[in-house]
């Protein structure tokens, strides 16, 4: 089962959602598909964890939501990045970069 989608590194889902929304407002399914596409199928998201994350981000004031029609004229809830969310994304991205570099250094040592 080598092609089984991996679990996300803990705590990174929020950052990834914010990143997806930084491009444009998107509904839940759209976000899931975008994440899958961008990760080339590595991350496949469970609906439960995705929507819990939406609720969490919304309560933290990082994203807003509004009902809009989709391109297929279906009513869907679109999530929009707030200013606070944008700031948080850039600081989290920087932090993530630092950590990844540090971990890489440790793993490459020896």
């Amino acid at each position: 089962m080598a092609d089984k989608p991996s679990d996300l590194v803990q705590g990174t889902l929020d950052m990834l959602i914010l990143k997806t929304l930084a491009l444009e407002p998107m509904h839940g399914y759209g976000i899931a598909v975008r994440l899958e596409q961008m990760s080339k199928g590595v991350f496949r998201l469970n609906a439960g964890s995705l929507f819990v994350a939406f609720q969490r981000l919304q309560r933290a004031g990082l994203i807003r939501s509004q009902w809009k029609a989709t391109e297929n004229s279906r009513r869907a809830k679109y999530y929009v990045l707030t200013d606070l969310g944008r700031k948080s994304l850039s600081s989290e991205t920087r932090e993530w970069g630092r950590q990844v570099a540090a971990i890489a250094r440790i793993l490459e040592a020896s």
Binding site: Y29, R44, G48, V52, R59, A60, T70, N72, R75, K77
Partner: protein
Amino acid sequence: MSLLRSIASGIRSLFRKEQVSHELDEELNGFLEMAAEEKTKQGMSRKDALRAVRLERGNLDGAKEVVRSAGWESFVETFWQDLRFGLHMLHKSPGFTAVAVLTLALGIGANTAIFSLTYAVILKSLPVPNPDELVRYSFSEPGLSDLSISGPAYDALRKHETVDQDILAWSGTHLTVRENGNVTDVRGALITGNGFRVLELAPYIGRTFGEQDDAPGGGPNGDQALLGFSYWKQHFDGRKIALGQALSINGRSVRVIGVLPPDFDGLIAPQQADIVLPLSFEEIINAPTPERHGPPGDNWLTVIGRLKPGESLESARANLQATEKIVREEADPSHRFMGGLQFHVESGRSGRSFLRGDYSQPLLILEVLVGLLLLLCCANAALLMLARVTGRFREFAVRGALGASRGRLLRQMLTEVGILAACGLGLGIWLGWAAARSLVSMLGTIGEPPALDVTPQTAILAFAAGATLVSVIVAGLWPALRASRIDPALDLKRSEAVSSFSSNRLGTWIVPAQVALSITLLSSAVLLGGTFIHLLLEHAGFRPDGVTIATVDLSSVNPTPKQAGRDVRDIAKALKAAPGVEASTILSGLPIDGGWTASHYFSLGKHGEVHTDMQTWVEPASPAYFEVMGTRILEGRGFTQADEGGARVCILSSSAAAYFFPNEDAVGRFVYSGGEDPHEDGQVLDPRNACRVIGMSEDARFLSLREAPPRVLYNLATGDEWGTGVSFAVRSSSSSLAAEAIRNAVRRQVPGIPDPEIFTFNELIENHLGKERMLMSLSVSFGCVALLLVALGLYGVLARSVTLRTKEIGLRLALGAQPRDAVMQVIRRGLHLVIVGAIVGVPVALASMRLLKGLLFGINPDNPVAFAMVVLLVFVVVVGVSCIPAWRSAKVDPMVALRHE
């Protein structure tokens, strides 16, 4: 910000549940549809597409549940559900609910009551800003601690203790207030002019004293007074009009300038200060002295200082040590008064308390006992809850099967215990408050009850809540864990009997634990009860039945003791002739009242050897004294009228006689009063110091019922030794007649003084035994409650086991067992539980009763009879309680039992 948003969003989903849930539904459905659409585009049938999405993305209903339970509001919501369900379940079994709530309320209430008292007596600080900055100075001498400080010593301390911002002096006093023609005795206090500045205490209304007000004659504004809050409420109806009004206090017109805050009762517990005056008013109450704050030998001040910022109790001690020599020099230049006294400084946070020393140990003991009682109550509640879990195991199994998680079942049970405990808490606080108030009135039975505020305050409520939390955990956690561990797969198939087996096994250690706890509680009850009875029955050298005592304050009409002598004799004469009075006498002080006197006497033996006693207790007595007080004359004779005015005669108590004349007959011999120097003994310098012994009386416990009787020398009273405060004792067949006679005699002979305080000798003894009585009655009631709880707990366990084993018993009976065997089986089980409990409990009780040692009298903490009694009592109760389920087991009809189920 985000917290606010989270709360707002949570509240929205709580109150607009429908809409929020609808939106979530729509959103998730959209998600599903969109995903399915994608798949159908790739050629799947719609049904397969939906299935595939579910497989990939998880069950959407599950997702909904996950999203819903992620926010904090879901916690509130499940709590609300649990609460409603719990209330419903409790409502369905009112009997269980009532017993459980009462059990918990009892435990919590008892703890609240004792803690209220402990808080009021020991923990509470003065209601002033930063009470931790206060330090208190006191004297001590060997055997006596926490003595007041003399005026000159206070002045010297104020001058030299540089760690303090300033130091105040306070003294409790009695004031005679004339109001609309009535004269009343009011508890008052005097304070130095800097006092309220040191305390940083602001008045409720009006103003407090300043430095200039504490001057002879009341300073520039004349005499001024502050009223205590409750006195103001009672006498002025809490009206502002009181300010500026004049009161007649000890014959002076004193203007009210302010009212003290409601929580301020004074600096000395439990003396409530109803009227506070400047310290200079002392010269009005008593005669003026040349020194500003009294002579060096007169220790009458409570002294409290406020430390400068940055100073501590340690630096105050160091300061005192460094300056002690010069303070002594200034305060007592003649070195005659302070030689035996030691200076102390300690925290003044709680002010001074006359109860703290006496009640610290008893309250500690009571805290321990009441803690054990709470454990016992919790054990019973736990047994009740367990029985309930067992009874509802099917419900739990079903809920588990339907998907309730372990945590959810645990929460449900804890919520139910929480509801019970919350009801117990409410009831317990109420019970505790009522109990604490009646305990306070137990602390003193004569005069006004001690001013101790036991109304529930933050600290007390917090304590009660803590006790409740403990009981929820102790009583609820185990049953809750038990409930959550029910395995639906197994338990749904099982019969009740098998499933409840393990909870029954739990009873086998809860009941012995209860027995052990109750043995400890009952032992303390027996020991403390025994002490009280011993003290009551101990012959104290008095015959208190039929004696009525009155204390009379003559100070308001007699400025000097000399003048008072005439009034005293007039009252005594009037009493003698009053109807219903068999005999009456004047007392210099109340017996067993903590008062203490010591004089120097010596005697010369047959061969010229000297017996010196520096601690002879001199008791002035009238001819009727021995008849009234009931002290028997063992040899010789008592005083008669003929002795008055003749040569000096005296009567010795038997221990005094044995001391002065060992192995000799005391009657007819002489004792001599000595001077201040014991070395002058043996030379009879003045024949007037000789006193002929005419009789020997039995020993009488003047000091206290516990302490050995002092060596007493009874003098024939001349009448002038009484001060302005005297007591009369009357022997009469009716205490109401006696009280009436005293009241009339006082009113007629000396009009214009406050009514005497009248009580019986037995009431005086009860008052003296207040501490013992409180310990006895509390420990005995704790013991009884403990026994009741054990009985209930054991009954529950046995009754349940009989019900569960009906089939087994029926089978045994059908196979030929006798009903007697069934009965014995149940009783054996009961006894087994108790024996295990007793094996643990007796050593625990034996060890812990050593704590009581200092409080016991006439009974040892390891008294085998006491322990045998306790164990026997527990056994009797256990056998009695076992009989009911045993009888039921014998009544089992094999035919019915076997057809059962």
